[in-house]
């Protein structure tokens, strides 16, 4: 009992005041996840925001804790793929790409193919998949774009694909056709047909 009290007092000393919106039991679990993440060098703000999202949406404590834990794990995976120099926005976008189905190796390839920040490239990848583009196609296209496209180009590409999809085009085809028309210069294929595994761009 005393140990619990002492433990709680220590946690109160370090916790973010915003977490007071959580009930005590949930709060202490979330705090321990956040503290571990911090100790591992991962950003804590996304974890706190995830907890706050859960509270605002009326989710039960265990669900909130599970979501925060899952995010912490995924942030770690993203960091493993993107490197310890990755910023918090890059890690968050990396998590989105991973959860969309891109493998860690795609993230690593992207890091090798493109100058930081990678936030927008990763976000476009995740958002393309959300729109229905098969993850392998989306990955291949973004990787092909990666060396030369500006962030603004990637955003414009994604918008164009979404427009086509809203007009009735199958997502995979929409992405491939757009990529072809954009004239991606790549030492591999100009566009990878949907369903085929991506080939990594050859290194200069």
């Amino acid at each position: 009992m005393i140990l619990t009290v002492l433990l709680l007092m220590t946690q109160v000393a370090v916790q973010d005041p915003r977490l007071e919106r959580l009930d005590p039991e949930t709060r202490s679990l979330v705090v321990s996840v956040v503290d571990s993440a911090r100790a591992a060098g991962l950003p804590s703000e996304p974890l706190i925001q995830r907890a706050l999202e859960g509270v605002t949406k009326g989710a039960q404590g265990p669900r909130i804790v599970a979501a925060v834990r899952r995010l912490a794990t995924d942030l770690g995976t993203a960091r493993g793929a993107l490197g310890s120099g990755a910023t918090a926005p890059e890690l968050e976008a990396g998590v989105a790409a991973l959860r969309a189905g891109a493998g860690p190796q795609v993230l690593t390839q992207l890091r090798e193919a493109r100058r930081p920040p990678l936030t927008m490239a990763l976000a476009v990848l995740a958002d393309l998949v959300t729109s229905g583009v098969p993850v392998d196609s989306a990955s291949a296209i973004v990787l092909a774009f990666a060396p030369t496209a500006r962030d603004a180009d990637l955003v414009e590409f994604r918008r164009a694909v979404e427009r086509d999809i809203s007009l009735g085009a199958p997502p995979g085809a929409a992405a491939s056709v757009r990529a072809l028309n954009t004239g991606i210069r790549s030492t591999t294929d100009a566009a990878v047909p949907p369903g085929q595994p991506p080939r990594p761009p050859s290194r200069p």
């Binding site: 005041p17 919106r21 039991e25 703000e45 509270v55 949406k57 009326g58 989710a59 039960q60 404590g61």
Partner: protein, 189 residues
Amino acid sequence: MSQPLGIDSVEASDAELVRRVRTGDIGAYSTLVARYRNRLGRYAVHMLGDREDAEEALQDSFVRAYRSLDRCDDPARFGAWLYGILVNRCRTSGARAARRRRMFVRDADALNGATHADQADRVEWSDTVNRALARLAPEYREAFLLKHVEDLEYDAMARLTGAGVSALKMRVKRAREQLQRFLKEAEHV
């Protein structure tokens, strides 16, 4: 254990808001701006005698406070610190405002001889006060406003203005004397 969806946010303290801004939540600063806008606006309007000048000074002060937020040593006293920035900003605005005031006083003098209906008495009194205030030397006006309108203690005023307490007391005294004189003159026109 789950929270109701329509959560009312407990109003965050200045210190909490400053903390949030410092960790990147720029939006938290807008709460501080809304919180202090009218209070500081009152000082700026009376000090500068012109609403447009006052809003400009206010905007500049808020932006400057944001940019130098890491120099706010005590976030719990953010308001007082912000005040100091505004007081200083109003001093540099003085030259432009002085030209406007001279124009205003001239126009108002032209109206002095007219008789006024009862409904206009309040406006008339407000004009009288503003004209009298405008005739004060800036440092007297500043001291008078900080002491009597903004209710600052002399110690706080000394920190804000950089002047000594006895100098400030003298300025407030002079301001009162001059205001009395100006108001009597207005009454006798």
